[in-house]
């Protein structure tokens, strides 16, 4: 950290001469909490992406099952999460359901069993997962029926054919739509702010309340988010092009 001191000093000089107050660089306390917020955001995004993709894969499998009950359940889940605001879902999970899931700690204070960070991960994963199920379902429908039949002829059972034959193909077909949704998810993680998860937006809000540098922090936030999402878009775009099935581009 010591070798970065001149850089921090430059930001202090920027403030003293031009009045651009970027405390997140030259103030050690603000720097630490902003960096933590940044890491929390990244962690939140990573967990939600992984969980929502898993929900999508499992959900698409359930949707293709023969049980009418499971299908109806899946349909209900998808329609509910797709047609209601994610923020209201988050409030519902955290305030409404969270109020029932409480236990008394040894010191006699009531503490929630599930923390706000975990609620944010659960809620955002379920929200993005609902879209992912539909995306994977579309991908599975695009896999030729003959392929599935060929797998069946080779003695695969339904799960085996799904995991080894259909899903790898469907995944490649649905990758563009999946990318779109994951980018959306990355952006939606900011709503975790509403239940006080200390992610970047929340920390930035704390900092601008303390330091009264709303404009600077706003611009920093916007630039970081655009850069972060830009990086995701770039990486996923590269992957998407690498995974294109020749002759299958819609």
């Amino acid at each position: 950290m010591t070798d970065l001191q001149p850089l921090w000093n430059w930001f202090r000089w920027l403030y003293e001469t031009h009045g651009i107050k970027l405390t997140i660089f030259y103030d050690a306390f603000d720097r630490a909490r902003f960096f933590n917020g940044f890491l929390t955001s990244l962690w939140l995004m990573a967990l939600c992406i992984v969980a929502s993709v898993i929900i999508g894969i499992v959900g698409a499998w359930i949707q293709g099952s023969r049980s009418r009950f499971l299908q109806a359940l899946m349909e209900g889940y998808i329609q509910f999460f797709r047609n209601t605001p994610p923020l209201v879902q988050l409030y519902f999970f955290y305030f409404a359901l969270g109020s029932y899931l409480r236990m008394t700690s040894p010191s006699g204070i009531e503490v929630p069993i599930i923390t706000n960070f975990t609620w944010a991960v659960i809620c955002l994963s379920l929200y993005a997962g609902a879209f992912n199920v539909e995306i994977f379902r579309a991908g599975i429908e695009a896999v030729p029926k003959e392929t599935a039949e060929a797998a069946e002829a080779l003695g695969y059972n339904r799960l085996g054919a799904y995991l080894h034959v259909i899903l790898p193909l469907a995944f490649r077909i649905s990758l563009p739509a999946l990318n779109n949704n994951l980018v959306n998810l990355v952006k939606t993680t900011t709503i975790a702010y509403a239940i006080a998860v200390p992610e970047m937006l929340y920390v930035a809000n704390q900092i601008w309340s303390d330091e009264l540098n709303v404009t600077e922090m706003m611009n920093v936030l916007l630039i970081i988010y655009v850069a972060l999402v830009g990086a995701v878009v770039y990486v996923m775009g590269r992957w998407e092009r690498a995974m294109l099935i020749p002759g299958y581009t819609p």
């Binding site: 209900g76 509910f80 209601t84 952006k187 830009g230």
Partner: protein, 285 residues
């Protein structure tokens, strides 16, 4: 005799050609509400009301009565949600059309700047843009000697309109690109200028293709409006919080939020169904 033979053939076959001709009503466009799908939500609401009822002590008003009491206020807030979503959609669409046409412009500076605007507003989180607009826009503007106040909800609407603009711009670009190049060449052969080709040939065809994703975008804008509660607009979400704190009953938490979710569901679900219907109707056969 032939009738019975045809009948028996029609019974044995599943080929549509061999079925007797029957006039059926044309498929309806606006999809009615099938009870099947709303049942889950209403069921959850009923369960929550029931559980809350069981928990509630004697002497307090019942939960349905309480929900009913606050319904007019909630409706007011919800009306603001709808108004904001529609206004944001209108502003965003008009601006987005302009930016989208910029994206396919032949002049590279126009194209590059439109690309930058689109990418920037498409990739920035909605909430950050909302904060940006609400906190950094002035609370009133002076146009000529007239002071025009800018209330919070209007600034929030502007914040919602920006990402809508970027998304509509992408829709326009995608739709124009999806028109076969033969259309352009045919128009050129008829001596249409580029502007005429766009206005008279290309864009009318784009409207059809843009309709389903545009409706989808509207549904997304509707479910994004509760975000404005974070920046202090008193819409349905904020009012729900206010109602809960004024009632001060923990048994009301689940039914109240489920009630609010139901409102959004009832508004958005028909849009989702209609989108599917429009898509099916406009599909290229």
């Amino acid at each position: 005799m032939t009738q019975s033979v045809a009948g028996s053939v029609a019974e044995r076959t599943d080929l549509p050609v061999l079925k007797p001709f029957r006039l059926t009503a044309a498929p309806r466009l606006g999809l009615p509400f099938t009870a099947q799908h709303g049942v889950l939500l209403v069921g959850a609401l009923a369960l929550a009301v029931f559980v809350g009822e069981a928990e509630a002590g004697p002497g307090v008003p019942s939960i349905p009565a309480t929900l009913l009491k606050w319904t007019p206020l909630l409706a007011q807030g919800f009306a603001l949600n709808i108004a904001m979503s529609m206004l944001a959609m209108a502003i965003g669409t008009v601006l987005g059309l302009a930016v989208g046409l910029g994206l396919i412009s032949l002049k590279w500076p126009v194209r590059a700047s439109s690309w930058l605007v689109t990418q920037f507003f498409r990739n920035a989180p909605w909430l950050v843009l909302l904060f940006y607009c609400v906190l950094l826009m002035p609370f009133e503007v002076r146009i000529g000697g007239v002071i025009v106040p800018l209330p919070g909800w209007l600034k929030a609407t502007a914040g919602l309109a920006l990402p809508v603009m970027a998304n509509v711009a992408e829709l326009v670009r995608g739709a124009v690109r999806s028109i076969p190049s033969g259309q352009w060449e045919a128009a050129e052969a008829l001596a249409f200028t580029r502007g005429q080709t766009l206005r008279l040939v290309i864009l009318p065809q784009c409207v059809k293709r843009m309709m389903p994703p545009w409706m989808n975008l509207y549904a997304i804008v509707v479910v994004a409006t509760p975000l404005t509660s974070i920046v202090g607009v008193s819409e349905a979400m904020t009012l729900t919080g206010d109602i809960l704190s004024s009632e001060g009953r923990s048994d009301l938490l689940v039914p109240m939020y489920l009630y609010l979710l139901t409102w959004f569901f009832l508004y958005c679900y028909p849009i989702a169904r209609a989108t599917v219907a429009v898509e099916r109707r406009f599909a290229v056969r």
